[in-house]
């Protein structure tokens, strides 16, 4: 099995999907000739041509709105929004149409499409390039929202998302594009959407996260284990739908939980996870669930970003709080 970065895994999934099914196409700003600003679609324009790998004008609503029409008429568009922070001009199309057509037409029309968005910070990028506003999409009925954090999951989940009969928002952690590598199968395989993955088993506390924060959490685990704390680490992988069973089972076992995300704190997805835990496992809790999050501030530019994006140390501190009680 070849070693692949997360970026390469996505490229392979795109290649496989475009190769297998004529209805699949990729559309976005600069996805064609250059292979996208992150080069995730490198080589595909040359291989599949401008009708299948489409360089779009700079117009996010246009990209999502036309892809929606394409999906309704039988294509399987994969759209790329250059950065999550540029998805907002398309927000109306997503909320008002992409997530609604099946309900509005009682299954008569559907929009099977994938909306890919690189997201998250930690790379000292310019303003708007570090957004992590997944909770607004989680609050949008009719779309699934998934977030792979490993090359294996990225490839298998993307192939699954492309085949999903409903729209899927596919969030790609920028910081992990090239920083994680692993052996993955060649060719096609699937990872079902909606299932969390236990990245490490543990007994004392459950750390729940997704996306690039899995990396910070892994670091935290290393520190904690030196301190003799055994933490279980859950990578949600999908926030809509949410794999509640895996979460509740773990918290019932450990009695303590820390939810980590780089999104703003207020009404971030962490709140939902905490609410679910307290609804389903309140009496197992030995301490309040802690949230380690970004703040209700703009993600700072490079020099102050470390005050914002959760670090292993902050996670360790939060675990400490849960152990105090």
């Amino acid at each position: 099995m070849p070693i692949r970065t997360l970026a390469q895994a996505i490229n392979e999934a795109l290649d496989i999907a475009l190769g297998q099914d004529d209805r699949v196409l990729l559309m976005g700003e600069d996805v064609g000739k250059t292979g996208g600003v992150f080069r995730l679609s490198s080589g595909l324009y040359e291989k599949y041509g401008p009708d299948r790998v489409i360089d779009a004008p700079v117009a996010e609503s246009g990209i999502i709105g036309t892809a929606f029409g394409m999906a309704v008429a039988g294509m399987r568009p994969i759209t790329e929004i250059q950065f999550m922070g540029f998805s907002y001009p398309a927000y109306d199309q997503i909320v008002s149409h992409v997530g609604r057509i099946r309900n509005r037409s009682r299954h008569r029309f559907t929009a099977p499409m994938v909306i890919r968005m690189p997201f998250g910070g930690g790379i000292g990028a310019a303003e708007h390039h570090s957004e992590s506003t997944e909770s607004i999409y989680a609050h949008t009925p009719g779309v699934k929202v998934v977030v792979p954090s490993t090359p294996y999951d990225a490839k298998g989940m993307l192939l699954e998302a492309i085949d999903d009969p409903d729209p899927v928002i596919f969030l790609e952690p920028i910081r992990l594009y090239r920083s994680v590598k692993e052996d993955i199968p060649e060719g096609s395989y699937r990872v079902p959407l909606g299932l969390a993955r236990v990245l490490a088993a543990g007994d004392d506390v459950t750390i729940i996260t997704y996306g690039a924060m899995t990396a910070a959490a892994r670091k935290a685990l290393a520190i904690l284990s030196q301190e003799g704390v055994s933490a279980e680490l859950i990578d949600l992988r999908s926030i809509v739908p949410l794999d509640l069973d895996t979460i509740v089972e773990s918290v019932q076992k450990t009695g303590r939980a820390v939810v980590v995300h780089e999104a703003h704190r207020t009404a971030g997805f962490g709140a939902e996870v905490v609410a679910q835990i307290q609804e389903h496992a309140l009496f197992s809790l030995l301490a309040p669930v802690q949230r380690v999050t970004g703040w209700d501030t703009i993600v700072p530019l490079k020099l102050a970003e470390h005050h914002y994006v959760p670090t292993a140390d902050r996670i360790v501190a939060a675990v400490g709080k849960t152990l105090e009680e």
Binding site: R23, L25, D51, I54, A56, P57, A59, S61, G62, G65, T66, A67, F68, G69, M70, A71, V72, A73, G74, M75, P89, D92, Q93, S96, H97, I101, R102, N103, R104, S105, R106, H107, R108, F109, T110, P141, G142, K144, P165, D166, G194, V240, P241, L242, D243, L244
Partner: protein, 342 residues
């Protein structure tokens, strides 16, 4: 401004259809008006939520929809019931959206008409994607989209026009400039004299015509649809017309326009001029009028019955309509609703 049939029913150009076809289209306009008035009437009785009447715009809708193939795509608004019905969307389903039933958004399998768009602007992009998709699948289907003067101010109008022109999609942009967007008169909506000229910003042809003239509408729509079908790209059509009624049944147009203006437009009625033309050509008489009104009224009455007789959707339908299969989140919520006795 293109015109073929004057308000007086006189030809000033070549009619694009023969007399039998003109009778058919006239009858469709009569049917549309009967539907519109019936819907307005039952709304007043509280049997519909708000209703958006299209009286005065029958020629624009009937004439343009008449040139389509049965499987062409149509994407219109809350005010385009006549066009949608022409394309096969049953009256009863167009009513059902207004009785408050989602079933109204679900036309039969063979009808490629999206449910009426309530948001202003966004749906034009869908028509671009639909036509594009058909071309990629080597089909000859085209897409027509209906929208108002107000909708041209939304950013999505711009993005739709641009994508259609750049990707050369078979999309017909059919604007019914009915002079108002709720209370906003056309001159407050844009600083241009016409909507048709906006096509120039996209490298697309733009046509302006008398939207109350069935023949002008038919001719221009046919030209644009042929262009689209032949792979020659999109067209913007501005049909200059007038909404004779209120914006919706909740609107009070006396707050923003004079009765005199309305009266002036009444004399440009799209039905009356075709009636006169047919009469002069010995193709109309009172008896036939009564006959078609009787038949079409019965169809509309039946549609009202059907709409009102639809099974009221239960709560399961809520959870079952969001995805192909309800997600685990939704299944949990379904149980919760039960447990809350909802």
């Amino acid at each position: 401004m293109l015109q073929i049939l004057t308000p007086e029913g006189e030809l000033v150009g070549e009619p694009p259809v023969d007399i039998p076809m003109t009778r058919k289209l006239y009858r469709a306009m009569v049917a549309a008006r009967l539907f519109d008035r019936k819907a307005t009437a039952i709304q007043k009785q509280g049997r519909l939520a708000t209703y958006a009447p299209f009286e005065g715009q029958e020629a624009a809708q009937v004439g343009s929809a008449a040139v389509l193939r049965p499987d062409d795509w149509m994407v219109g608004t809350y005010r385009d019931a006549a066009a949608m019905w022409m394309q096969g969307y049953p009256w009863e389903l167009l009513l059902a959206g207004r009785t408050g039933h989602e079933r109204g958004g679900s036309p039969p399998d063979y009808v490629n008409v999206l449910p009426p768009s309530i948001t202003v602007g966004a749906h034009m992009l869908h028509a671009v994607g639909l036509a594009w998709s058909e071309r990629l699948q080597s089909s000859e289907r085209i897409a027509i989209t209906y929208f108002g003067d107000g909708a041209t101010s939304e950013g999505d109008f711009h993005e739709a026009m641009n994508f259609a022109a750049v990707f050369h999609t078979g999309t017909v942009f059919f604007c019914q400039n009915n002079q108002y967007a709720i209370s906003m008169g056309f001159t407050g909506q844009t600083a241009t004299e016409t909507i048709a000229q906006k096509a120039g910003a996209y490298g697309m042809p733009g046509v302006r015509l008398d939207g109350n003239d069935l023949f002008a509408v038919y001719w221009a729509a046919r030209t644009a649809v042929e262009r689209a079908r032949n792979g020659n790209g999109p067209t913007l059509i501005e049909a200059v017309t007038y909404r004779l009624g209120p914006h919706t049944t909740s609107d009070d147009p006396t707050l923003y326009r004079d009765e005199a203006e309305v009266e002036a437009w009444r004399s440009r009625d799209p039905l009356e001029r075709v009636r006169r033309y047919l009469e002069v050509n010995d193709a109309w008489d009172e008896e036939w009028q009564k006959h078609i009104e009787g038949e079409e009224s019965a169809v509309v009455e039946r549609a009202v019955q059907l709409a009102e007789g639809l099974r009221v959707p239960g709560s399961d339908e809520l959870f079952d309509s969001m995805f192909a299969e309800p997600t685990s989140d939704l299944e949990r919520q379904r149980s919760l609703l039960e447990s809350e006795g909802g």
